[in-house]
């Protein structure tokens, strides 16, 4: 195969894949309920409750909005807060049902740096204990500092509106 032909084939393969991935959120992610929780008709606490799920109940996530997940169970569909569920641990290369499919369904970001983890270790205790100060890197760190106005400009451009929210441990 010529280089051009190879390029075309790879392009077509990717286009097909992109189409598959952009099709509706296909197979859903299985989760289990960490605690008893109601399902709401909409992602709002004042919405009607469509079901009351028990801890350990299973369901499929079919959508997400902010902190809410849209869950489909055998008996009902509705919304609940994401902190009420647990996702299964992805077993390493186990071929565990769902694990390969998940890789297909929950596609990567535009660019990825997928690194297989075998034998790779990150920054560990010994590295931190042994490390000596790098003055050049500290200087670089200084160079990248953002001023308060630059940070505010970033927030404005991103459409971020500051909100008044008390710390969760604040006394009411």
């Amino acid at each position: 195969m010529t280089a051009n032909a190879r390029f075309l084939v790879s392009l077509l393969a990717r286009a097909a894949l992109a189409a598959a991935l952009s099709a509706a959120p296909a197979a859903a992610q299985q989760v289990t309920l960490e605690r008893d929780s109601p399902l709401y008709a909409e992602p709002r606490l004042d919405a009607a409750q469509t079901a009351q799920l028990k801890q350990g109940a299973a369901g499929e996530v079919v959508g997400k909005q902010g902190g809410w997940l849209n869950l489909k169970t055998p008996g009902a569909t509705g919304w609940l807060f994401s902190f009420n569920v647990r996702f299964p641990v992805q077993k390493a290369g186990s071929g565990e049902p769902g694990s390969a499919a998940l890789g297909q369904v929950f596609g990567p970001r535009r660019t990825v740096n997928v690194t297989s983890q075998i034998g790779i270790r990150g920054l560990e205790e010994e590295d931190l204990r042994r490390a000596s100060l790098d003055a050049g890197q500290l200087k670089l760190l200084d160079d990248y500092v953002a001023t308060k106005p630059a940070a505010e400009e970033h927030a404005r451009a991103a459409g971020l509106a500051p909100a008044k929210v008390e710390y969760l441990d604040a006394k009411p």
Binding site: Q29, A92, G95, R130, A146
Partner: protein, 324 residues
């Protein structure tokens, strides 16, 4: 030697250690006045000391893993971080943020205002709200002085010359600095981590982001499991992500309705020109590889089976849910 001579030697010693010209003006007498016990003396460290110690800790951490050579990325993370830090009661600390070139999945908060996120962690994030949550957690450690407090206790307990240390601030600061980046290897107690999680949620919300970014990241970490190599240190030094999620659920449930929904802007990608982060100790093994630029738009690798590692980008499996 008179006490005032001792004072100036100590002050100059501290200035040399901290590199802060203003350090000599610190009123050591106030901190280490006669009759103060060790604990009081230690807790008397002021903000300049905290910054000096933190700078040394940050410098050593950078000695272990340098900044990713992507200036636009580093500036971006500083703008986001500074915006989140501006929502705290310590908005004017010398805030520094950086992405360090390590495949580990972790983040570090050095006292006095420096937050370092590993590239391994950065690359599993899908939105700026998730980044804000992670930075908010680390900023929480700094604002509440979690690490410096542990370092102080440890320095006071372990120092042989406790009395000398109590009288000589430079000895104490030097002792804290001696702890270096090791503090990150030891970790904090659980309550400090839970507290930082709650602060991360709140700071993200105050900054206008979805408060739930940090929860999404914790779900991702939980799904990777404790046997994941790059997560080894994080799992060792932090409560299990599921435990953190449960704590957050307890704290959030009563207030969830009151939290603003916020925004989830896209996150800046690491420059495609950057090679993947080098493992600290690369151990080539069958199946070990990093997807290069040309594969960037390909699907995640499907587990080949039989290996002990992750055949797929396990941090990305929740992207369909927690992605953009």
């Amino acid at each position: 030697m008179t006490s005032s001579v001792r004072f100036w030697i100590a002050a100059l010693g501290f200035a040399a250690v901290s590199g802060l010209a203003a350090a000599a003006s610190i009123d050591l007498g106030r901190v280490f006045g006669a009759g103060k016990d060790l604990a009081t003396a230690a807790s008397g460290l002021d903000e300049n000391d905290e910054i000096a110690v933190g700078r040394e800790v940050a410098g050593r951490t950078l000695g272990a893993a340098p900044l990713v050579a992507d200036a636009a990325l580093q500036s971006y993370v500083n703008r986001v971080g500074r915006w989140v830090a501006s929502q705290t009661e310590r908005p004017d600390l010398p805030w520094h943020f950086g992405v360090i070139d390590s495949p580990a999945i972790n983040a570090f908060a050095a006292p006095g205002g420096t937050v370092l996120v590993t590239r391994g962690l950065y690359e599993i994030l899908d939105s700026e709200a998730q980044l804000a949550g992670v930075l908010g957690h680390e900023i929480g450690h700094i604002v509440r002085r979690h690490h410096i407090t542990v370092m102080q206790k440890s320095a006071v307990i372990s120092a042989g010359a406790q009395l000398a240390q109590a009288r000589d601030r430079s000895l104490l600061v030097g002792n804290l600095i001696g702890t270096g980046a090791e503090i990150f290897a030891r970790g904090l107690d659980k309550s400090a981590e839970f507290e930082a999680d709650q602060i991360g949620i709140v700071l993200a919300a105050r900054a206008g982001y979805s408060p739930y970014g940090l929860i999404e990241v914790l779900h991702k970490l939980a799904a990777r499991g404790s046997e994941d190599g790059p997560l080894a240190l994080l799992f060792k030094t932090h409560p299990h992500p599921n435990e953190r999620l449960s704590e957050l659920a307890g704290a959030l449930a009563p207030r969830a309705a009151a939290l603003p929904s916020g925004k989830e802007p896209g996150i800046r990608q690491v420059s495609a020109d950057m090679p993947p982060p080098a493992a600290t100790t690369p151990v080539p093994a069958e199946g070990t590889r990093a997807l290069q630029k040309e594969e960037a738009s390909a699907p995640p690798a499907v587990p080949s089976g039989g290996g002990s590692g992750f055949g797929l980008d396990a941090g990305g499996v929740l992207r369909g849910i927690f992605g953009r």
